[in-house]
Amino acid sequence: MTKGVKICLAVVGVVFAVSAVLTFIFLHSTGKDTENGSVWVEIVQDNKVLYKLDLSAEEDRTFRVEASDGGWNDITIKDHQISVSDADCPDHTCVKNGILRYEYLPIICLPHKLIVRFCDGGGA
C-alpha cells in the first residue's frame, strides 16, 4: 500500500465517519414543538416565504402551489401533518418524501424550487 493510497483511505474514512454521525443526528431530530404546542412550518418557493402555517391549528385541507414555470405541487395537511401529495414534475421526489418529519430535512422539490420545512413561530 503506497502513501497515496493511505492518504486517500484516511480521507475517505474520516468523511464517512463524520457524515454517518451527521446522518444519524438528522434522522433522529423529529419535528419540534414549541412550548405552547404550536408547530410552525413554512412553504418557501424561489427563496420567498409563501405560507407560514401553524400545523396544530390547521384544518385538514389540500391546496395547490403554482411554480413560475407553470408547474404545480399539491400540498396536503392531514391530522396536523403536512406533505406534498401530488406534483407535475417528472421525478416526484417530493411526493415520495411523504410527511414532513425531520427538523433539519425539509421536503424539497428541486424542479419547482419549493421547500416545506419547520420554522420558528410568531409573526404569521
Binding site: G4, C8, N47, N97
Partner: protein
C-alpha cells in the same frame, strides 16, 4: 480513435445505459432524493482504468445525456452532469495514485465527488442552503454504493485481464 476502440466504448455506453434504465425500475430503498446505487458507474470506474481520459469523458457524456432522455427527466440533466463530471475528474486524477488493486477506493472517492457536484448545483439552483442537510446523508450512502460499484468493476477487470 480506432474503430475497435470506438466499438468498445459504444458497447460499454450501451451496457451502462441498460443498467441505468433497469435501475430506474428498482423501488426506492430510502425515500431521500439522490440516494441510489448508481450501478451504471460500474462501467465508468472500469473505463477509467482501461481507457484514455478523453475516451472515458466521451463515454460518460453520452451516457448522461442519453440517460436523462430515456428516463424523460431532463430537469435532472444538470445535476447528473455536474455529478458525473466531478466524479470523472476526481477518478482520472486518482488513477495515477491508486493502483487497480484498490479500485474500490477510487470508486468511493468518485461517488463522494458525484454527490458534491450535485449538491453544489442544487444549492446554486435553489439559491438557498436548505438542501445542505441532505449532503451527509448522500455522502454516507455514496460511500457504500461507491464501494459496491468499485468491487463490481474490479470483478469485471479481473475477468477481462484473464481473457487477454
Amino acid at each position: 480513435m480506432s474503430t475497435k476502440r470506438l466499438a468498445e466504448l459504444s458497447m460499454l455506453t450501451a451496457a451502462a445505459l441498460i443498467v441505468f434504465i433497469v435501475e430506474l425500475r428498482f423501488p426506492d430503498i430510502i425515500p431521500i432524493p439522490g440516494v441510489k446505487l448508481g450501478l451504471a458507474n460500474i462501467f465508468t470506474v472500469y473505463a477509467v482504468y482501461r481507457f484514455k481520459a478523453k475516451e472515458v469523458f466521451l463515454m460518460v457524456l453520452t451516457r448522461v445525456i442519453l440517460g436523462s432522455v430515456f428516463s424523460s427527466n431532463l430537469s435532472a440533466l444538470l445535476y447528473s452532469f455536474a455529478g458525473a463530471m466531478a466524479c470523472l475528474a476526481g477518478m482520472l486524477l486518482l488513477r495515477r495514485i491508486i493502483p487497480i488493486r484498490y479500485i474500490w477506493l477510487c470508486s468511493i472517492v468518485g461517488a463522494m465527488l458525484h454527490n458534491t457536484g450535485q449538491m453544489i448545483v442544487a444549492v446554486a439552483v435553489m439559491r438557498s442552503p436548505a438542501v445542505l442537510p441532505f449532503y451527509p446523508i448522500l455522502l454516507t450512502a455514496g460511500c457504500i454504493a461507491g464501494a459496491f460499484t468499485g468491487i463490481c468493476a474490479r470483478l469485471i477487470l479481473r475477468r477481462h485481464i484473464q481473457d487477454e
